[in-house]
């Protein structure tokens, strides 16, 4: 599985990647982007199976990226889990309405992240 981790914090991207190592999928491959523009560029050039997406980022934020992706036919079914500090219910509702598959509030626990991924990929 190829996973794209999008977060403007390099340290947070590393934490998320290290957490995912617990899935013990030896073939997993990780791509990283620091904002929505970089992420879109990577998605257009690579086959990606899952996007873990921050909300508050420079250039193009996570929600704006979701809107762009869901408007493009090839990304309408791409699994996206939003991982963000934004904990207000109205933010969660807005993100779900725009098409994220699931939503996780930072700080992320290993258990929380793995549970969300297993909801999106029940066979893992």
């Amino acid at each position: 599985m190829r996973i794209l981790v999008v977060d403007d914090s390099r340290i947070m991207r590393n934490i998320i990647k290290n957490t995912l190592m617990y899935l013990h999928q030896p073939d997993d491959e990780y791509l990283e982007a620091a904002d929505g523009v970089e992420a879109l560029d990577l998605l257009l050039k690579n086959q990606v199976d899952l996007v873990l997406l921050d909300w508050n980022m420079p250039k193009l934020n996570g929600l704006e990226l979701v809107k762009k992706l869901r408007a493009m036919e090839q990304f309408q079914n791409l699994p996206i889990i939003m991982i963000t500090s934004e904990a207000a219910k109205y933010n969660v509702i807005e993100a779900i309405k725009e098409g994220v598959n699931d939503y996780l509030v930072k700080p992320v626990s290993e258990r929380g992240l793995l549970a969300k991924i297993k909801r999106v990929f029940p066979n893992l």
């Binding site: 403007d8 914090s9 390099r10 340290i11 947070m12 590393n14 934490i15 508050n56 980022m57 420079p58 963000t84 500090s85 934004e86 904990a87 207000a88 219910k89 109205y90 933010n91 509030v105 930072k106 700080p107 626990s109």
Partner: protein, 156 residues
């Protein structure tokens, strides 16, 4: 002072320090900060708040604590480079502000990207000419730090 609107920020700070750094800080007594007085901190991480109010959330640290928090997060025992320190404390204030919104849902709020100011007694440009700055001292096993909040027309 209406603690109702400060409490979500205190709760979020405790939660973030506990989850990210395995630290349970002790909360001191909130006070109104004089923006013209020297504060003695070395580095501050700032998030602006917009929407149904204007404001800011600021976490201020001595540089040693900022470096120690970074080392704890990265798992590197050596002193962290400045880039990692900026990344760490920026992310911490971002999570505190975003998490606190859950306790302030009667207001529709947006938070900015974090900015970092460094230097002993650095100046912070606070929003709201007359809005009070509520400062909350924290004490932790790694040292003291401060949380300051301004919410125009809500607090004060």
């Amino acid at each position: 002072m209406d603690i109702k609107y400060i409490d979500p920020f205190i709760q979020a700070t405790n939660h973030v320090f506990n989850e990210l750094f395995n630290i349970k800080p002790e909360v001191g007594k909130p006070f109104i900060m004089d923006k013209n007085q020297e504060h003695g901190w070395d580095v501050s991480a700032i998030i602006g708040i917009a929407g149904e109010t204007k404001g800011a959330v600021v976490l201020s640290f001595p540089s040693e604590l900022a470096h120690n928090l970074t080392s704890r997060l990265t798992g590197k025992p050596v002193p962290s480079p400045d880039e990692d320190v900026v990344d760490t404390i920026g992310e911490v204030v971002n999570i505190v502000a975003g998490n606190a919104k859950k306790g302030l849902e009667e207001y529709r709020l947006m938070i900015s990207l974090p900015s970092i100011v460094t230097g002993r007694n650095h100046k912070i440009v606070w929003p709201g000419k007359n809005a009070p700055i509520i400062s909350i001292p924290f004490q932790s096993e790694l040292g003291a730090f401060s949380l300051s909040v301004v919410l125009e027309n809500i607090i004060g």
